[in-house]
Amino acid sequence: MKVTGAEAIVKCLEEQGVEVIFGFPGGVIIDLFDELEKSDITNVLVRHEQAAVHAADAYGRVKGEVGVALVTSGPGATNTVTGIASAYCDSIPMVVFTGQVPTGLIGNDAFQEVDIIGITRPCTKHNYLVKDPKDLAETIREAFYVARTGRPGPVLIDLPKDVVVAKAKFPEPKPVKMQTYRPTYEPHPGQIAKACKEILKAKKPVIYAGGGVIASDSNEELTELATKLNIPTTMTLMGLGGFPGTHKLSMGMLGMHGTYFANMAVSQCDLLIAVGARFDDRVTGKLADFAPHAKIIHVDIDPTSISKNVKVDIPIVADCKYALTAMNRWFDVQEDFNGKEQGEKLGPWLDEINSWKRDHPLGYVEEGDIIKPQFVVQKLHEMTNGDAIISTEVGQNQMWAAQFYHFNKPRHFLTSGGLGVMGYGFPAAIGAQMAAPDKIVIDVAGDGSIQMNIQELATARQYKCPVKIAILNNGYLGMVRQWQELFYDKRYAGTDLEVSPDFVKLAEAYGAVGLRATKVSEVEPVIKEALATDNTVFMDFVIAREEGVYPMVPAGKATTEMLLS
């Protein structure tokens, strides 16, 4: 049976179980949009291609599936680059389809032609230019397979116009087999035993969990290991929700804006168990002083992550779920292992951590009527029972959300962790709401970053996404301003947002709801009204202008050298 390229693509999307894609059309890709219109797949028409990719990223994260974005050639394609790079840094499974000029015109500087394969080569897990219509279906199947397996990541498929139009035989689906790509899922049993023996020996162990725990859905296995052995656990920004944030063994986030006790614990531990984390510079601070007394166990599915920044003593190349399960089983079958004794053995270590917790808990200073951003996030947590999906922009808003919304479940915190993209949160909230229509979805934003993709108000309205945007409005690009305050003698170069729109009126102009709080007493009513509103809501919280994010480890310093206020 011969089908057009467009038909083949839609059939493949259906085969992969795709229900929603995020896209923006253009000249060379009209045929595919035309075909999609006939299918049951919903195309969410965004207002900028960058937003399509962020929305697909969030949709994939929330559902644990591969997000899909579809754009045209040239500027459509280049506008996706930031979103793709962000998904690549955060290991998010995604397939991005880009239109391309007809194969005969490639290389001719045709209208809206760009070498998107060349441009995205360093920021995709893999990419494909389909030149022959008969390769189309198998390329798409392979792309989805590559995107979701191993260390997940974005894959791009470039579709020349003639390939989308041409007819070719549609090959029946068969399991993807690749000669060159076989990720390792099962851990080496010898390494598991070695790691577990080391865990039993340790007097001051710490678990350091990253986004790999979320990607592999191994939060339960992680919680089992931590509680079985009474090991205090800290999470990276990407790992939040991988271990319950309100659990007594949780130390919250570590690193540059991590908790005092998490950073102290890592600096004093004798065994660091890294699970699906990559020793990012925002986590380690000065490398030479990171976990200086610790042996290091590192579980990661990507061998390049192991011993990249920090020399690892016991590497375990495996999917976190498989590795954690194997470790849990190892302890289960040890006859002389006694969980209670083990727990008691670590008592003094937990006491030490608890005393750090008591001395320097996460907190902030109240200032009468002035709204503190941390208070807003605390209220959001309280009034949503900690059950909302929270997306963030990047900067202070992101760190306050990470610190004060104690995530208990995975796939509830959406943030551009590695690349740090301002403008991620709003389209991500839309993607999340499309994935989980019944959940409360809140974008914790700053007044700077919300403006980077504010045009998506139209998308939110068009698709009736009742997302709530909490703008922590301080009139500054706050995180950079904070650095200027601390390290540049308060010279606020380029960070004072002297002119901003009236966010309430702006929301109303789009048919959304705008609310504003300027003093503490207004915060709760505003959130209450927003949560009760079945529409997109902008909540403009006018906050303390020069509030900072603390603790803070200055760039390049050891993580013990925290500024606490």
């Binding site: 360093p122 990507d302 390049t304 990249k308």
Partner: protein
């Protein structure tokens, strides 16, 4: 330390730029690079010479392996191996030096591949050290042009 790394990869468009892009993007250095297809036209063999401390070399081999089109990565230097380079050298050969040039070429088991009244073009193969030695000797006579391949390498077969 110098490392010679042999990479088998699928012979697809753009695959070379995946390799070179990896090196430039991550700040690894490439001293020489040579690539051609193997017996299987769908598979190419790429030999590259790079330098760096052990952790960097470990990253290089892991990162290469991570590329989807890469089939196999071998640090050839981990066992005994043979390496070869080839150079084509056009050297000045006027009446008083013609015999001298031929003698030098002969000593290094080179071949004259092009002759003109005032020059010889010679072909030299061997490990990098030999190519360097020939160049050092011919330089005072007058090298007009030189073209070199990158290193190619092959592990020695097990003796028993």
């Amino acid at each position: 330390m110098k490392h010679t790394i042999s990479v088998l990869l699928q012979n697809k468009p753009g695959v070379l730029s995946r390799v070179t892009g990896l090196f430039s993007g991550r700040g690894f250095n490439i001293e020489s690079l040579s690539v051609a297809e193997t017996l299987d036209a769908g598979v190419s063999c790429l030999t590259l010479v790079t330098r760096g401390p052990d952790p960097i070399i470990e990253q290089i081999t892991k990162q290469l392996h991570k590329l989807i089109d890469v089939i196999k990565v071998v640090d050839v230097g981990e066992s005994e191996f043979v390496e070869r380079e080839m150079a084509l050298i056009r050297v000045k050969a006027e009446s008083h030096t013609r015999a001298e040039v031929l003698r030098v070429i002969d000593i290094f088991r080179g071949k004259v591949v092009d002759v003109s009244p005032k020059s010889y073009a010679v072909e030299i193969t061997g490990p990098q050290s030999k190519i360097k030695a020939v160049i050092d000797i011919l330089k005072p006579i007058g090298i007009q042009e030189i073209v070199r391949t990158g290193t190619i390498a092959m592990a020695r077969a097990k003796k028993s």
